[in-house]
């Protein structure tokens, strides 16, 4: 953590924090004093810029991860359903490997494992790469289901209109497929966004990292995680709305089924 700049003052800011922060003797019962936990959110006034910074990193991670991850997913879905035969086994292996291992382990493998092969990267690059690879595999399966639900006649109709195979794929197959599976893709993007909270474990400074940082400074663990959980919930709701609106903008014609 040394050497990193944070948008807040360092330790010793006037308020006494210690490991038993929050526990107070309350003189309320006739039996005498009771040790009770008192919630305290006064640290928010000082530490909210830390949350803000963490939030921007989380948003950046999911924005990059979603755009490149879905592009990778489209490529893999094309290979698995229409692409060259020899490319299919490695792509299937990739998809199955990613879908059946925890994101945390993928992240550790990329960040701690790959440097021994000579691939060095920063925490944020590793986090971005892990999210792209993860979402790529999941969205591949989702998009492939959409492509396979395309009626055979659509391909033939495309080529009978003198479209090249690529044009047919792009206009006739891909866009309606994406429209068909857009709700599933939306859910998956939100799952990946929530899953991104583990990138704090390689010290990528996302929202969860901010919560860890604050609780280590103020000893207000429950409150810090409570606030960050609330921010994640809001972010998930906003992201869902954004994706629903995006879906309406990309696929305006309801007649395409």
């Amino acid at each position: 953590m040394a050497g990193r700049t944070y948008p807040c003052r360092p330790l010793n800011h006037g308020v006494r924090h210690h490991a038993f922060a929050g526990w107070r003797f309350i003189h309320s019962t006739e039996r005498g004093s009771v040790l009770k936990y008192v919630f305290d959110y006064s640290w928010l006034a000082q530490y909210w810029p830390v949350f803000l910074k963490g939030l921007t990193i989380t948003v950046e991670l999911i924005a990059v991860g979603a755009v490149i991850g879905i592009a990778l997913g489209i490529l893999c879905a094309w290979i698995r359903s229409l692409g060259p035969q020899w490319l299919r086994p490695p792509v299937t292996l990739y998809v199955e490997l990613i879908r059946n291992t925890p994101f945390l382990i993928q992240l550790f493998f990329i960040f701690f494992g790959l440097p021994s092969l000579g691939v060095q990267m920063s925490e944020l690059q590793a986090a971005n790469l892990a999210m792209i690879i993860n979402l790529g595999a999941y969205s591949c399966e989702i998009i492939r289901a959409g492509i396979q639900a395309t009626p055979r006649g659509q391909f033939e109709a495309g080529s009978s209109l003198a479209m090249s195979p690529f044009e047919t794929f792009r206009h006739v197959v891909l866009v309606p497929s994406l429209q068909r599976i857009w709700p599933a893709l939306t859910s998956q993007i939100i799952i990946v966004m929530l899953g991104s909270s583990v990138v704090s474990q390689i010290a990528a400074e996302d929202l969860t990292f901010a919560a860890n940082f604050i609780q280590s400074r103020t000893f207000r663990a429950f409150e810090a995680y409570f606030v960050s959980t609330a921010i994640y919930l809001l972010l998930a709701i906003l992201l869902r709305q954004l994706l629903v609106v995006t879906g309406r903008l990309i696929f305006p014609r309801r007649s395409v089924r």
Partner: protein, 219 residues
């Protein structure tokens, strides 16, 4: 310095894998029980209970599992009890899987054809009888593949409990890495072990889906 053979690494990881399996089983079964309760609240007649179950699911699906683990770990401590990692891990994972199972099973119950409800009602069945003899038997069949599929998510979810200090496969991977300085081998093996646990379940979920779907269509 002690030298570690590949067998040393594998042995230690396999020993830790017991805890991954145990925690997965506890979370899945416990989650299933809580989900059954929530399901009846969710599809029942009581408006308030429906509301509670609905927002319970929204809440747990809209927040990261890691945050739920942290809140369980530090939140249970607020009651003045000493919280070991396994307790917080089990508690959070049970509540988390309950939310997802409720949502999966609700979809299954609602996918039972509406005419079945009407037909059973016209035979003079009460709500409990309708559920017991008509709806649940049909919904169960639809529910099996996605439920098996979700068990994979539970196993992958247990990896996060390493962060609050529960020693299972992932935590063992970190510990072994710190001892051997071979992250590539160790995390590769950890990933393979998870794959060995999850892949048979994913595959059987797919196969079950195909089989049960065929049976469903032929009716």
């Amino acid at each position: 310095m002690t030298e570690f053979t590949l067998w040393d690494i594998v042995r230690n990881l396999l020993l830790a894998m017991r805890w991954t399996v145990l925690l997965s089983l506890v979370s899945f079964i416990g989650g299933g029980l809580v989900a059954t309760l929530l399901l009846f609240m969710r599809i029942g007649r009581g408006r308030f209970l429906r509301f509670v179950a609905k927002y319970y699911v929204e809440l747990f699906q809209g927040t990261p599992l890691l945050m739920q683990l942290f809140l369980a770990f530090f939140g249970l401590g607020l009651f003045g009890i000493n919280v070991p990692a396994w307790l917080a891990a089990g508690f959070a994972l049970i509540l988390w899987s309950a939310a997802f199972l409720t949502e999966i099973w609700r979809g299954c119950v609602e996918s039972v054809f509406k005419g079945q409800w009407e037909a059973s009602a016209s035979l003079g069945m009460g709500y409990v009888q309708q559920m017991r003899y008509v709806i649940i038997p049909q919904a169960l069949k639809i529910a099996i593949p996605p439920t098996v599929g979700f068990s994979v998510q539970v196993i992958k979810g247990t990896a996060l409990t390493s962060i609050i200090g529960f020693v299972e496969l992932s935590k063992a991977g970190t510990i072994v890495t710190n001892a051997t300085f071979q992250p590539f081998t160790v995390y590769g093996l950890v990933a393979l072990f998870y794959f060995a646990l999850c892949w048979p379940l994913s595959k059987s979920s797919q196969i079950l889906e195909r089989k049960l779907n065929v049976a469903h269509r032929s009716h």
